[in-house]
């Protein structure tokens, strides 16, 4: 079983962060939410592994109080 990578894994974090923000240029909050949803679906399919995705969801959710 592979594990989700949570250590730094990108050579160019600033560029990638900028790409993510640029993708939302000129979009309303609702359009942005839709874009994010589509992006997540595209990435989920690329990852193609339910266990990794579940780990990612746990990592992204606010910690339990």
């Amino acid at each position: 079983m592979t594990d989700l990578t949570l250590a730094p894994n990108l050579d160019n974090p600033d560029d990638i962060y900028e790409d993510l923000l640029n993708a939302h240029d000129g979009l309303s909050p609702e359009e942005s939410a839709s874009l994010n949803a589509r992006l997540i679906l595209v990435l989920a399919n690329h990852i193609g592994d339910r266990e990794i995705l579940r780990q990612a969801i746990r990592a992204a959710r606010p910690p339990d109080p």
Binding site: E30, A33, S34, A37, R38, L41, V42, N45
Partner: protein, 528 residues
């Protein structure tokens, strides 16, 4: 057809008996589930009496989609071909989102099965075929009695038998039965009479269903719309049935005036908007339904057993209502027959409870997921749903997420106490113990035509031991590629013990007579 009494009330000699006449098995309800149960038992020579307050097939089409497993069970009951001849087969469909078509699909059925993945057929045709089958069994002298026009008013369970009070046009009478199968539908009176609950989730939604006949030729496809201009914010379905009848399903939402919505003029206007103003059609049947996903905590209560909608109810998406009810019958009847014939202890019925509750939970999960896709319950679930549909137009990866109903597939009884350990090394996962036998070309025909109705041993590429008088179904020398793929996998040969309902009880690379005997004991509930 709906107006024709098929089993009109006629006075039974039981009504003139001094004391309640005792029956082996009484089935309450002559819907698809009760009728099928009667046939299954009568074919095993177990006497049954079926009681229904009505005397005809169900009004309106109701269930229209019958799965391959239902057809295979119907084959075993002797009416598979009748259903197939009458039904419509289809594989193609379209999905629409808002004002555009997002994609076409073709289900491309897997090869090597004797029956298609499903057919479309009105429920009343199925019921009609079941009643005809009962008539032919009666002609052959089998012990099955179908009584219309008698409503079960009360059941009084006793030590070994249950008293049943029935009201008829001639007044009330009572009978007694060793066993009762309650197939009295989603609003089951028997459930209430016994004070049993039916819990689950109610969906706050209404669907308008209309059966229409049309003069134009639409292709034989399933069309599903999400948020179409003619029904904004809701969904719609168009599907073909036999006799030039089309099923239209329009989601209406929760706060509607139900009476106004079924006014023919109102319905005609809606259908016109959907089909186009120039399409001429006739309304055959209109109804509004809401739905629930719920089940009983247990299906077996002593010698009263619930099957079909009385035991569990699902949303219509995925066609799991009638299909799963028929599988209940498939699971229940051989067990009941084995108990009555003294071949198994009564506790065997606990496995009906476990196996079919497992199946009901699977069906409820699937139909709940479809419902949540079709009717998103939060802003974010709507955003994701729409994201899937948007993506599906350009990217095939998104299409498997689109969920307007998942095809009803039979459950595998993983973990059932009737299963023996899997001793076929390299054997395919899909035919592991608990699984329904996949069909495949076998000898001169199809495998499933050789199995079922009784326990049997399937020997593939090797001999099977003679044990417990079990019939042996042996492959001839050339084994079809589908047989290899579905039953051997990496193994060179195998022996399978198959239950009367065509589920796998045990499998081995090599089996001794003792192995087979002990697996059979397990599968009949004799060893825990």
């Amino acid at each position: 057809m709906h107006d024709e009494p098929l089993y009109p009330y006629s006075r039974s000699t039981d009504q003139d008996a001094r004391n309640p006449v005792r029956h082996r098995i009484a089935i309450v309800g002559a819907g698809p589930v009760g009728l099928a149960a009667g046939i299954d038992l009568a074919m095993k020579n177990i006497p049954v009496v079926i009681l229904d307050e009505n005397d005809r097939v169900s009004h309106g089409s109701r269930a229209i989609c019958f799965s391959k497993r239902t057809l295979e069970i119907a084959d075993r009951l002797g009416l598979g071909q009748t259903l197939l001849d009458k039904g419509v087969q289809w594989n193609a469909g379209k999905v629409f989102f808002r004002d555009r078509k997002v994609y076409d699909f073709n289900l491309l059925p897997e090869a090597g099965h004797s029956r298609p993945a499903f057919i479309n057929l009105q429920q009343y045709h199925l019921e009609h075929a079941l009643v005809e089958r009962i008539r032919s069994l009666q002609g052959d002298g089998l012990p099955i009695d179908l009584r219309g026009g008698g409503k079960v008013e009360a059941v009084r369970p006793g030590e070994t038998e249950t008293a049943i009070d029935i009201s008829t046009p001639d007044g009330p009478y009572s009978i007694a039965a060793d066993w009762i199968i309650a197939c009295d539908g989603a609003t089951s009176g028997l459930r209430d009479m016994l004070g049993l609950g039916f819990t689950g989730r109610v969906f706050e939604d209404n669907f308008l269903i209309a059966d229409v006949t049309m003069e134009v030729e639409f292709p034989t496809e399933r069309w599903f719309w999400f948020d179409p201009p003619f029904n904004p914010g809701q969904s719609a379905l168009l599907h073909k049935q036999p006799d030039g009848v089309w099923r239209i399903d329009l989601q209406l939402g929760w706060n509607i005036d139900r009476k106004a919505e079924v006014e023919p003029e109102r319905v005609r206007a809606r259908v016109s908007q959907m089909l186009g103003a120039d399409v001429r059609f006739e309304l055959e049947w209109v109804s509004i339904y809401t739905f629930q996903c719920r089940r009983m905590d247990r299906f077996r209560h002593g010698r009263i057993v619930f099957a079909g909608d009385s035991a569990h109810q699902v949303s219509p998406f995925g066609a799991r209502g009638a299909n799963s009810g028929i599988q209940d019958v498939d699971n229940l009847c051989w067990k009941l027959a084995a108990i009555i014939n003294g071949e198994a202890p009564e506790s065997l019925l606990d496995s009906y409870d476990r196996e079919r509750i497992q199946a009901a939970d699977e069906n409820i999960l699937n139909s709940t997921r479809s419902t949540d896709f079709i009717t998103p319950k939060s802003d974010m679930s709507r955003i994701f749903r729409n994201a899937v549909l948007d993506l599906s137009e350009r990217h095939s990866f998104a299409r498997p997420f689109v969920n307007s109903g998942r095809l009803s597939l039979p459950s595998t009884y993983d973990g059932s106490t009737l299963n023996s350990a899997d001793l076929l090394e390299g054997g395919p996962y899909s035919s592991r113990p608990g699984a329904p036998c996949p069909d495949a070309p076998f000898n001169d025909g199809h495998l499933l035509d050789h199995l079922g109705g009784r326990f049997s041993l399937l020997a593939i590429g090797r001999e099977a031991p003679t044990a417990a008088n079990l019939p042996i179904i042996a492959s001839k020398s050339d084994i079809s590629p589908e047989m290899r793929e579905r039953y051997l996998g990496k193994a060179r040969s195998a022996v399978y013990l198959i239950r009367p309902d065509q589920h796998v009880a045990a499998r081995w690379s090599f089996a001794t007579a003792e192995d087979v005997r002990s697996a059979l004991e397990r599968a009949t509930g004799k060893t825990p």
